[in-house]
């Protein structure tokens, strides 16, 4: 029920533009792969664990192949061949390779049909990893259903996974519907997925498969206690997007932060690398039914939220188009936006409503992710609490999907247990008291709100036009998003990108893309 009257032709046109932009990038993506895509394939084939230097085996194997100069064929076929040779399972084979007892260069030993079959069998197992996760999540939700939207999303970020569980239990007790474990600072810049349970992070807790499992267990218990399925969220964006998606599929994560551009803009990760990785990671998410959250909200932390509202809209449309290219359906698209306007602007709340309604109207079936005020939060926690309260109101009024709970101590520290409680109390209060408000109101035709939404859409459309002409990569180079410029060849991780050879195989991708 979009409240804002928006020209449907203009919507169709904008979506078409975004699709063309995404398709351009897709041509590039199709010809390339990255070390982390290959590592994800290994993980899905069943390779895990670390060597004596704490380097994960997927990294070791891809490194070995790269050192041999054979990376552009992809890891799948050499690994299948090694397995045929060893007669062992994937993990054991990987260990033998790592220990130098088995080589990755013996493809010639087997017939192409033998190799095809082995690869195909491995890929089908990989698909089952995703399908089984999906089935398990379904079963859980059947027992403990999902609560109504907006879903109350809360973060934990102690740095210690066990302490995080304590905090998550408290959040669930007070009403959280989704728990996100914030990652340690700069994890997105490390080019491997750390291993095992971890207890020391800065500003967050390392994303590891073991940590995923520990938190998922905690939330499974909480879900039963609370009678609602409490979702687990983590972060894919970074140098290991696809690998984290693979780990998430193993551990039944419900949601991943997964943006096609966040890493480029906010982590200075090379754009080619990011586009390649996001695609494979999203293919995995689509199959494992992992809802993705995009990061447009971040733009408004570095750029002004009124002047740049249209960049959020344009980016949402691009993110949507790329997500569709990876097979993600509307129900899995947690497109991001935020309540970040300077509260000193007169009628700031009206702007917020306009922006929120526009997003709602453009993506009526997507569980939009709505970020609370952060940048203008005050160190006076009482004032900040009021800001969150109006944010809660905007969210429930405009029928948002995923409600990131604003925390009154945002300008101070990662949330303490009591901060989270205080904040969710406000959410609970407002959602209950104003649950039906949005359905009671109409915006005045030609009023400020309607006009403002139209203006943002017009500007977004213009930006998309320009992006289509210049190409997305070029537009990012010019600093169109988040006021941040990133060169095509700059940033971290470019060395991990390679052009696919003629002999490149990735049967998991083929299956996910419906090519076999």
């Amino acid at each position: 029920m979009p409240q804002i009257p928006i020209n449907t032709q203009q919507i169709t046109k904008s979506k078409q533009l975004a699709k063309e932009i995404a398709d351009q990038v897709q041509l590039f993506i199709n010809d390339h792969a990255s070390v982390s895509v290959e590592r994800s394939v290994l993980r899905l084939y069943g390779v895990d664990g670390i060597d004596h230097n704490d380097t994960p085996l997927p990294n070791r194997l891809v490194e070995i192949l790269q050192q041999q100069g054979d990376l552009n064929g992809g890891i799948s076929r050499p690994f299948a061949s090694a397995m045929l040779k060893s007669g062992l399972n994937a993990q054991q084979t990987a260990e033998q390779v790592e220990q130098g007892q088995l080589k990755l260069d013996n493809i010639a030993n087997f017939s192409s049909i033998e190799l095809d079959n082995r690869e195909q069998a491995l890929a089908l197992e990989a698909i089952k990893v995703m399908d089984r996760s999906n089935a398990r999540k379904h079963a859980k939700i059947a027992k403990n259903p999902l609560p109504p939207q907006p879903w109350r999303y809360l973060i934990v970020a102690t740095g210690n996974i066990y302490e995080d569980c304590t905090q998550a239990e408290s959040a669930a007790y007070s009403g959280a519907d989704m728990i996100a474990v914030i990652r340690s600072t700069a994890q997105s810049l490390i080019d491997y997925v750390p291993y095992g349970p971890t207890t020391e992070g800065f500003g967050g807790t390392y994303a590891t498969q073991a940590n995923f499992r520990i938190m998922r267990d905690t939330l499974d218990k909480a879900s039963i206690e609370q009678g609602r399925h409490i979702r687990l969220v983590n972060y894919a964006s970074g140098l290991c997007m696809a690998e984290i998606a693979a780990c998430a599929a193993f551990e039944d994560l419900d949601v991943l932060l997964n943006d096609s551009m966040y890493g480029i803009l906010f982590r200075d990760i090379n754009m080619q690398r990011t586009f390649i990785d996001q695609h494979f990671s999203r293919l995995i998410c689509a199959r494992a039914k992992i809802l993705i959250n995009t990061g447009e909200d971040n733009y408004l932390t570095t750029a002004d939220a009124v002047d740049n509202a249209h960049t959020v809209t344009a980016s949402q449309l691009i993110n949507e188009a790329m997500a569709k290219n990876a097979g993600l359906t509307d129900d899995l698209l947690g497109l991001g936006h935020a309540f970040e306007i300077n509260p000193e602007i007169e009628n700031a709340f009206l702007y917020e409503l306009a922006h929120a309604e526009l997003a709602r109207a453009l993506f009526p079936d997507a569980p939009l992710k709505y970020m609370p005020p952060t940048k203008y939060k005050s160190t006076d926690i009482f004032y900040s609490h009021c800001m969150d309260t109006l944010f809660n109101m905007a969210s429930v009024m405009t029928h948002q999907g995923i409600h990131l709970t604003g925390i009154l101590t945002e300008a101070l520290h990662t949330p303490l247990m009591q901060d989270r409680y205080k904040s969710i109390s406000s959410v609970n209060y407002v959602f209950n008291a104003a649950r039906g408000l949005g359905d009671e109101l109409e915006y005045k035709q030609n009023g400020f709100i309607v006009k403002r939404a139209q203006q943002v859409l017009d500007e977004a459309e213009a930006l998309l036009e320009r992006t289509k002409l210049d190409g997305l990569m070029q537009t990012i180079e010019q600093g169109a998003f988040g006021d941040i410029k990133r060169p095509m060849e700059g940033g971290k991780g470019l060395e991990g990108v390679f052009e696919k050879g003629v002999n490149y195989t990735n049967p998991v991708m083929d299956l996910l893309e419906g090519r076999s």
Binding site: E163, D380, I381, A411
Partner: protein, 244 residues
């Protein structure tokens, strides 16, 4: 076994506490330093004066997070708790009938210059509180709610005249300790007239705790959220105790 505890923020025993207060000084670096020094005298360390805001000429409001030093042993903490079984309407009525074989007589009201009656009404009036019937509704209780601003003398006279078993007083206003003043006045009056032991004396109100009531010489004290059936349960329990 010892159970040392400290406040918890996000790591066990981190001692994290949020404080806010106003100091009678003009805002500025010295004011912020003063806030920090002040909080250090309250036995905290790692003091972050996160916000300082002028709120009047010569007054600054501070928001502070700090880590408290003390640790206390939870195993040594004892609360003054009432001991009674919380019974339901029917059980209570049956028990009164059985024990007393006459109605239990209760008189109540708000004494002194306190005009808040919502609390005492919640306990005594038919309607009760939170789906829990008020004392007037109990067939085995004769409850007289005298209302608000009842002088202590009048309350006592009424109790005497009506052969009350219990006197229920409500106090809401606590500014300048006016509740303590009034509650003490009533006790003194009863003492002086040698009537203290004739009645079960219950106090209640938003800032009344059982501990405070006991300290002032009452038999029990009831705070926020009290249900009439709790009060009735306590009354009959005490009466049985006294009889024994």
């Amino acid at each position: 076994m010892k159970e040392p505890i400290k406040p918890y923020g996000d790591t066990l025993n981190d001692g994290m506490v949020q404080l806010s207060f106003t100091l009678p000084v003009e805002n500025g670096p010295r004011a912020m330093k003063a806030a920090e020094v002040y909080v250090s005298q309250l036995n905290f360390n790692k003091i972050s004066v996160v916000h300082a805001q002028k709120i009047s000429d010569g007054f600054t409001y501070f928001m502070v997070y700090a880590e408290a030093n003390p640790s206390i042993d939870y195993s040594t903490i004892e609360a003054t708790e009432m001991e009674f079984e919380h019974m339901d309407f029917y059980t209570i009525n049956a028990l009164i009938k059985e024990t007393l074989n006459r109605p239990l007589r209760v008189v109540g009201g708000t004494i002194g210059n306190d005009a808040h009656t919502v609390g005492i009404d919640a306990i005594m009036n038919m309607k009760g509180y939170n789906q829990d019937y008020g004392l007037e509704r109990y067939p085995e209780i004769d409850a007289d709610n005298l209302g608000s601003q009842i002088p202590c003398q009048e309350m006592v006279e009424y109790a005497v005249r009506h052969h009350a078993d219990a006197i229920l007083v409500s106090q809401t206003v606590t500014q300048k300790d006016s509740h303590i003043l009034h509650l003490t006045e009533l006790i003194d009056l009863l003492d002086k007239q040698g009537l203290r032991d004739q009645y079960l004396l219950l106090a209640g109100g938003a800032k009344i705790s059982h501990e405070l009531a006991i300290k002032l010489g009452y038999d029990a004290g009831f705070g926020p959220g009290t249900l009439p059936s709790q009060v009735a349960s306590l009354l009959i329990t005490k009466i049985i105790e006294r009889a024994a």
